[in-house]
Symmetry: C2
Subunit: 233 residues, 2 copies
Amino acid sequence: MKNILLASTSSMFGEAYLAYLMPELKSFFEGCTEIVFIPFARPGGISHDEYTEKVKAAFHPLNIKVRGLHTFTDPTEAIQQAEGFFTGGGNTFLLVQQLHQLNLMEELKGAVEGGTPYLGTSAGSNIGGINMKNTNDMPIVYPPDFTTMGLIPFNINAHYLDPDPNSTHNGETRETRIKEFHVFNDIPVVGLREGSWIRVKAEEVTTEGSRSSRIFLADTEPYELEPGSVLRF
Amino acid sequence: MKNILLASTSSMFGEAYLAYLMPELKSFFEGCTEIVFIPFARPGGISHDEYTEKVKAAFHPLNIKVRGLHTFTDPTEAIQQAEGFFTGGGNTFLLVQQLHQLNLMEELKGAVEGGTPYLGTSAGSNIGGINMKNTNDMPIVYPPDFTTMGLIPFNINAHYLDPDPNSTHNGETRETRIKEFHVFNDIPVVGLREGSWIRVKAEEVTTEGSRSSRIFLADTEPYELEPGSVLRF
C-alpha cells in the first residue's frame, strides 16, 4: 500500500526544521526504527554529512534513527531494505542528476510503490512527480534526464507563491511560468503553498495542511482546492 | 569588432516595451536597416509571429525593419547575412533547446564574434554567457545541452533580485541559488538588476544602466559594481 507525504517546504518561517510536520510524521513513520535519508539536493551546498546530522536531530524526538544514503556501500540494497525514506530539499537538478547517475531513481520508485513510506520536502517532493519540469531551482548541473519517480499522476510546484500585487519587478510570476509549461506539456501541476502537502494512501491522493492548493491544467483557468480534497485528474 | 548589449530586462515597470533602452539602441544599431529577431523564448507561450510583431512596433520609431528568424527558409544563411540581431526574453530552456536543435547556437556566436551587433534581453542575454546554468526560468523543456554562446567570459543572472528582508517565504533567495551554483562551478556570475545591462565593445566589457550589479565569484563574498565599471575576471 503506497504511503507517501510530499510537502511544499521543510520548515515554516521562524520555526524549527520539520517542526510543523512533526504531528504527522509520528503516525506516518509508525513502526519504523530507522529511515534512510537522501541528502543529494544539498541546500546551500551543505555536505551530505552535515545535512544528515540536521535530519538526525529532527527525528530524535520521534525515536527514529536516520542514516544517510551516501554512507552505504551498496545504496541499491539500502533502498531495497529500508523501513522508510526521507528526501530533503535543496537543488532539484542536483538531486535528479545524482539519482540518475547512481541508477537509483527507478530503485527508489519501486520501493515506494511497494509500500515503503516516503517523505519528501521541496526538491524531495518534486521528484515524486512525473518529471522535474516545474521546479523553481536554478539549473546548476545538467541531469541526464528530467524524468522523476511518477509516484503521483501530476507534477508539484513546491513553495508555490501568489503574484505580489505591489511588485514592480518584471521577472515572470510563478503562474506565468506554469502557463509556459502548459504550452508544451499537458501534465497537471499542483501549486503547493508552504504549509501544505500531498498525501498518498494506497490509491487515494489528497491535499493536506494549512492552505489551499492552486491547480493548473492545460487550457483551463487555474483553480483552488481546499485542504482535505481528493486529487483526481 | 564585437558589439554586444545584454540587458537584464526588456522593459521597466509601467513602461513601454524596450522604452528605457531606446536612447542606447539608436546608436547601437546605427547603419542597420533591418535586424533579425530571434523569437524562440516565447514569453507566456506567445507565438513566434505575435512576438515578432511586438518587436517590429518597438523598432519602428528607429526606422529599423525587423524580420523573425523563424520566417527564413534557411536560418543559417539568414544569420550569416544579418545586419544585426535581437533575441528577446521568455523561457531560456526553450530558447536554448531550439537554438541547439536547429544547429544555430554556434552559427549565431560566429556572426556576433565577427562583428554583427547583438542585442539580448533577459533569456536573450542569458545565452550570451558561457552556459544557461544561472537562469531563473522553469525547465519546461529539456535542452540537449546547457552550453550557450560564451560571448562574455561569465554568466548573467538576469532580473537579479535582492533578498526581501520582510519575506516569510522559505524558498531560496537568488543569492543562495547562485552560491549553490558555485559549489559545482567556478564561472563568475553577474547579478544584473532590471535597468542595467552589459556592454561589449571589441574586447572591453562594462556594466551600464541605472543600477549597480552584484558580482558572484566562487569562494568570495559577493560585491557591487557601479554602472560604467569594466568587468575583468
